[in-house]
């Protein structure tokens, strides 16, 4: 096959490219330029977008012996990922930009362009397996990225190749060193690539301005103030700067975010417990599930979160997901990924719209 490898400049995509060559594919490497002004990201070095990363990707392509190009996707990235990230926070939700980037950039903009230009598939260095078209977890549970890929449709997965799923990160690094790839020791990327200094609240404040409001407890009493609901995530404990101590002396957490009246509701840890999730915009990309009768499966609600059993019923385009064991601090906007009961194969995913504590009303 003629395949295009998305090369970030990191160790994973470099080894993925080398393995694609070994597998007999006709391989072309492409580095995605996602920052409109790469210079502003030079000091970031958080896994993509820097000039150093572009150079590392180029050198890896040289060593592997494949053609290498840079594709400018900065405008698409800003529109589909960065602007969406800001808008989601402004709406009181907690988006996952990596997932969004996979859905809209790597396996949409890049895949579409690659297919039109005569390529059969896009290869990435994601840690996940594709088994007869089914998305499965990586053998490395610490590095598994099936969660951020679960948003892809069957058609997108049919044109994706993930050569690293059967290897641990350690094995990938060893292989990179053996192949003479200079990125073998490069640190893992983390955090959000377009927020170079890691200050998400500052990034959002710069774009959304100051929108002051109150922090209230579950009885409605004002216990503090803030300068923008976007600085908060459900489940957050640090940085609340509460003026009034909790009556029981226990720490308090963000329970819900209401950007319309600029109110953050805080409460005790047990009040964070979620027993039921309503999720929308489902993507079914795995083995068939019984949408009429409902089914039991394993679910994961954040990128590196716990997996819990759940009963799922489907009501048109909304999923009602009852968690067998309650989970703490589930934020609207995050994806819920449904796995087979053994937790290994992705059945599908959906976007969390509302959550509910047992016996209480749904909350956004």
């Amino acid at each position: 096959m003629r395949v295009l490898v998305a090369m970030s400049g990191g160790v994973d995509s470099a080894v993925a490219a080398a393995r694609a060559v070994d597998a007999g594919h006709d391989v072309t490497g492409v580095h995605l330029a996602l920052a409109q002004n790469p210079k502003s990201f030079r000091t970031g070095a958080r896994g993509c977008c820097t000039l150093e990363d572009a150079r590392d990707a180029r050198r890896a392509a040289d060593v592997i012996g494949i053609p290498y190009y840079v594709w400018d996707l900065a405008v698409r990235f800003r529109e589909d990922v960065v602007d969406n990230f800001v808008a989601e926070y402004a709406a009181g939700r907690t988006p996952n930009p990596c997932l969004r980037c996979n859905e809209k950039i790597k396996f949409s903009a890049v895949l579409d362009r690659a297919r039109a230009l005569g390529f059969d598939a896009v290869v990435t260095g994601h840690h996940a397996r594709l088994d007869s078209g089914l998305l499965r977890r990586s053998v490395d549970p610490l590095k598994d990225q099936s969660y951020v890929l679960a948003v892809l449709t069957r058609d997108q997965l049919a044109h994706a190749i993930f050569p690293l799923g059967a290897s641990t990160k350690g094995e990938v690094r060893e292989e990179a060193a053996r192949r003479g790839l200079a990125v073998a020791e490069k640190p893992d990327s983390h955090d959000i690539c377009f927020i170079a200094d890691g200050d998400t609240a500052g990034f959002l404040r710069e774009r959304l301005g100051s929108l002051p409001g109150d922090l209230v407890d579950t009885a409605g009493a004002v216990v503090g103030s803030h300068d923008g609901t976007f600085g908060f995530t459900v489940g957050q404990r640090r940085g609340l700067r509460l003026g009034v101590p909790a009556p029981d002396g226990q720490p308090r957490y963000v329970l819900s975010i209401s950007p319309v009246d600029r109110t953050i509701t805080v409460g005790a840890r047990e009040e964070l417990e979620v027993h039921e999730i309503v999720a929308i915009r489902p993507v079914w990309n795995g083995p068939p599930v019984d949408v009429d009768a409902g089914f039991t499966c394993a679910v994961q609600v954040r990128a590196h979160g716990m997996v819990t059993r759940a009963d799922v019923t489907v009501d048109r385009d909304a999923l009602r997901i009852r968690l067998v064991e309650p989970q703490l601090g589930i934020a609207a906007g995050q994806a819920v990924v449904l796995y087979s009961s053994d937790g290994d194969t992705v059945l599908g995913s959906a976007t969390i719209a509302q959550t509910r504590r047992s016996g209480l009303a749904l909350r956004a």
């Binding site: 400018d72 362009r113 230009l117």
Partner: protein, 399 residues
Amino acid sequence: MPHYLDHAATTPMLPEALEVMSAHLRDLGNPSSLHAAGRAARRTVEEAREQLGRALGARPSEIVFTGGGTEADNLAVKGLYWARRTADPRRVRVLASAVEHHAVLDPVAWLGANQGALVEWLPVDRLGRIDLEALESAIERDPESVALVAVMWANNEVGTVQPIREVAAIAGPYGIPVHSDAVQAAAQLEVDFGASGLATMAVSAHKIGGPLGVGALLVGRDVTVEPIVHGGGQERDVRSGTLDAPAIAGFAVAGEIAAAQREVQSKRLAGLRDDLVAGVTAAVPDVVLNGDPGPEPHRRLPANAHFAFPGCEGDALLMLLDAKGIACSTGSACSAGVAQPSHVLLAMGLDAELSRSSLRFSLGHTSSDADVAAAVAAIGPAVERARSARVSVEASRHR
């Protein structure tokens, strides 16, 4: 078999230049040393200087060797600005064409941002040619305040040749120095420095069949430029650094051969280029030829063809042609390798979309009919594919 149509980026070394340079790489001696080995190296440099002077219409003493064309342009722009402003602090205006190579564009902008220069970009017409009346009126508005004028001899992207002698004739009566980047022109046009009226002129060895990493700034005898690289003062106290005698020798041989063969070669390349334009136009009827349609050599570089392919992304086309073994260029690239819309095409009045759809094919001394035929054969299918890619990506945009 690969077909190289990117000679404006760099052209293969002429065998004679390669031979001379290789031979001198065995030589021992720093041209600034006083002993026999040093004198021998110095002799190599000085003979090369004379040889290059004959090729470029310059006195040997007017040649300042540099580490390439970009350094020569920087030395001219900054060096003239500082020297002129030191002589008279009123001289802070820098007039430069809007289509300069980044090697001039960026130092001019830097002078504006950091050194108090007042920068005025001189407009060009749809063909990329400078507006002489705009230059004249810019100077006449306050001639005493102009530090320098910079207008390239021929444009590196679209190949438009500028009326350099007219530019020099306009600035000359006011004593305003004119710098010209002749990096692209030197191999294809007669660039007689002595007859040009220029104060300074930049040339680069690897664009004329010499080695990479060496160039020269031609500096008129009466012209003062402040150094930008300080040290031993090896080159007229204007440029420091141990001279690369082997590269300079190769540079001079290339310059001599390029000058001797210019007329024949330019005619041959113009013929090939016309075939290329005709073939591409037949394959892609709505293609747009950017720049001046000619005739040469007064209006357009003979070896340059620059096209806009409506509905295509230039970088997709480049990739598709590269896969077929055909090397061309989208124009200037930034350090991360992302093609920005060309400032040259924008200054000529093309919109950003059309400018992003552009490709440059440039020929040189090794170009053949087979190269042109291969490019013509590949361009139709590549354009068709790049157009469908564009359409499908746009269609998916808000899916």
